[in-house]
């Protein structure tokens, strides 16, 4: 019943994507844990961590595609929500260190002892409990997006102006988190993690589990986003993207729709950040840097806006290229290549990889409504001509 419902909401690309992701979610951790390192199918731990990182970025990309591709809100600050989710997870992990830190303080993280702080700041309370941290992973980015969106959408800030203030938001957070007296570890951020839920974060089994959870989160995020865009809600946000004031004159509260999609998207980005931190082992203010958010926009553009699958594919592909190019002699040229990719995609394949493939697929299937209509009207006119001949 549920499976049938889910399948009914998917297109071909979605099914392929889910099948591949499910296979990756199962195969990669199992191969890492069970196969001997000599096997051809063995996935080494470093590679698993790397793919896990790509999948976190893919979740961020899906969340960005939801607001940008479907609702037309070009957020240039989505990295901020990712980083906030990451910090929430980082704070939990810091509190788990306990007496194993350099200063062996049971309550205060090392950097606070170093700064000569005597008490834990109030906003660190509760982060020793995983359920609370889990809640904050969604709540903190969600609440920021809600307040920010409420102010921006109600004042009808749109287009490039909105993009600029989202960029300003992430930049402001970058500067704030750099400050030592903010209480988030300043420049160094949060690192040196030991345990997550009592399991060693470095242990192979924990890493494999984290990888599985990341792949599962990507699948669930995709399904949630796909569900949202295939309901009439999705049609309305696309209507807002294409003709905002028309939607308003139809009687829809445009700002409510935008606010909902923006908040959900931010919480999703927060989840991505939270999964990212234990796998890379550090979170610091550089995650707030505007360049990160802009890179995320490039992933979505490369993969194809408004396709969801494209966003995930774009994130994985561009980051794979980044890994290849930033190691070795090509390293200095990576940013040139990234810029070139963006320019080429914008000019040559404006619909992105998956958007273009979807187009070919539709045409191949003859599914294209436009083609069908032309065929039908051609048949109709042939009949009339034939009829005219007979009667003539």
């Amino acid at each position: 019943m549920i499976t049938k419902y889910i399948v009914s909401r998917l297109d071909g690309m979605g099914l392929i994507f889910l099948a591949v992701m499910a296979a990756v979610a199962v195969f990669v951790p199992l191969s890492n844990l069970l196969l001997p390192p000599t096997s051809v199918f063995y996935v080494p731990t470093y590679l698993m961590a790397l793919i896990g990182k790509y999948l976190c970025y893919a979740i961020l990309a899906v969340s960005l595609d939801l607001v940008w591709g479907y609702c037309g809100i070009l957020s240039l600050g989505h990295g901020a929500f990712f980083a906030l989710g990451g910090y929430a997870m980082g704070m939990y992990l810091m509190r788990q260190i306990g007496t194993r830190g350099v200063y062996a303080n049971p309550i205060l993280p090392d950097f606070m002892v170093f700064l000569n702080w005597k008490e834990l700041p109030w906003f660190w309370y509760g982060f020793d409990m995983f359920p609370f941290a889990l809640l904050m992973i969604f709540l903190v980015p969600g609440a920021l997006a809600f307040v920010f969106g409420w102010l921006a959408f109600r004042s009808r800030v749109t287009g490039v102006y909105l993009s600029i203030i989202t960029q300003a938001m992430t930049y402001a957070l970058l500067l704030a988190f750099f400050r030592n007296d903010m209480g988030f570890g300043g420049n160094n951020g949060l690192t040196d993690f030991k345990d997550i839920l009592g399991f060693n974060v470095q242990a192979q089994g924990t890493r494999a589990t984290l990888f599985f959870l990341t792949a599962l989160s990507l699948i669930l995020s995709y399904l949630l986003a796909r569900w949202m865009v295939t309901t009439s809600f999705g049609k309305i946000i696309v209507a807002i993207r294409d003709a905002e004031s028309r939607t308003r004159f139809l009687g829809f509260r445009v700002e409510h729709f935008k606010l909902l999609v923006f908040t959900v998207s931010a919480a999703m980005a927060g989840l991505a950040g939270a999964l990212y931190v234990p796998q890379v082992g550090i979170i610091n203010p550089s995650e707030f840097s505007p360049a990160n958010s802009i890179e995320a926009v490039i992933w979505v553009a490369v993969g194809g806006r408004g396709t969801l699958v494209g966003a995930a594919v774009g994130a994985i592909l561009v980051n794979f290229l980044k890994t290849v190019f930033t190691s070795g002699f090509l390293a200095p040229y990576w940013l040139f290549l990234l810029g070139a990719i963006f320019v080429i995609v914008t000019l040559a394949v404006p619909k992105g990889i998956i958007g273009t493939l979807n187009g070919y697929y539709e045409r191949w299937r003859g599914n294209d409504a436009e083609a069908r209509w032309h065929r039908k009207s051609a048949e109709a006119s042939n009949e009339t001509e034939a009829g005219a001949k007979i009667h003539g």
Binding site: T231, S232, D242, R248, A369, W373
Partner: protein
Amino acid sequence: MVDEKPHVTQALLYLDGVSVSFDGYRAIRGLSIYIEPGEMRAIIGPNGAGKTTMMDIITGKTRPDEGEVLFDAGKYDLTKLDETAIAELGIGRKFQKPTVFESHTVADNILLALKGPRTARASLFGWRNNVEREKIDEVLTTTGLLDHRDRPAGVISHGQKQWLEIGMLLAQDPAIMLVDEPVAGMTDAETEQTAALLKDINKSHSVIVVEHDMAFVRALDCKVTCLHEGSVLSEGSIDKVAGDDRVIEVYLGR
């Protein structure tokens, strides 16, 4: 306040002494128009007469500097409401330049316009996800777009977009429809069909039509208001207005 103006209680739409300026230019000056329930009204006037601005004021896009704009026998003050709230009250609008959702299919354009709860929650879980095909096809049949139901609205012809927008208004089922230049860019045959369609719609809705095309206005066969420089120049039957010396003067120039 309503008691002071007893006639307010009858009019569906009541504009009294409305003025608005843009950067010192007074687009509307002391405009007063009353529309009765069930009425069809044609608004004519040369370029810059304030026809579209009047529509903007009624639908909440523009706030008047002074004057009263009341709806439904004086029950609602439209100057205090925004576009969404006004649309929810039952005031539908078709724009001068046809504005449809181009990447949606023709059928989906109608779907989004259909009358019913318009909250985000309703759109995720509600009835708009289970609308029967017939309900949409009924509107598409009325507007002659049934053959195009699955085409993207961006690819249909200009005249068809005009009809689609009228169809969206029909689906919205408002108490009053404001129709801005519905026959701009249409052939003569299409213009005739549109007039017939609007007259048909008028059987169950009040309609205000802004139009330049005199043959079309004549075909509508309704009360006509001629605007000039933001206020009413002449009002009455088409023959009376078309015969008014001042109307002839503003149309033909001095």
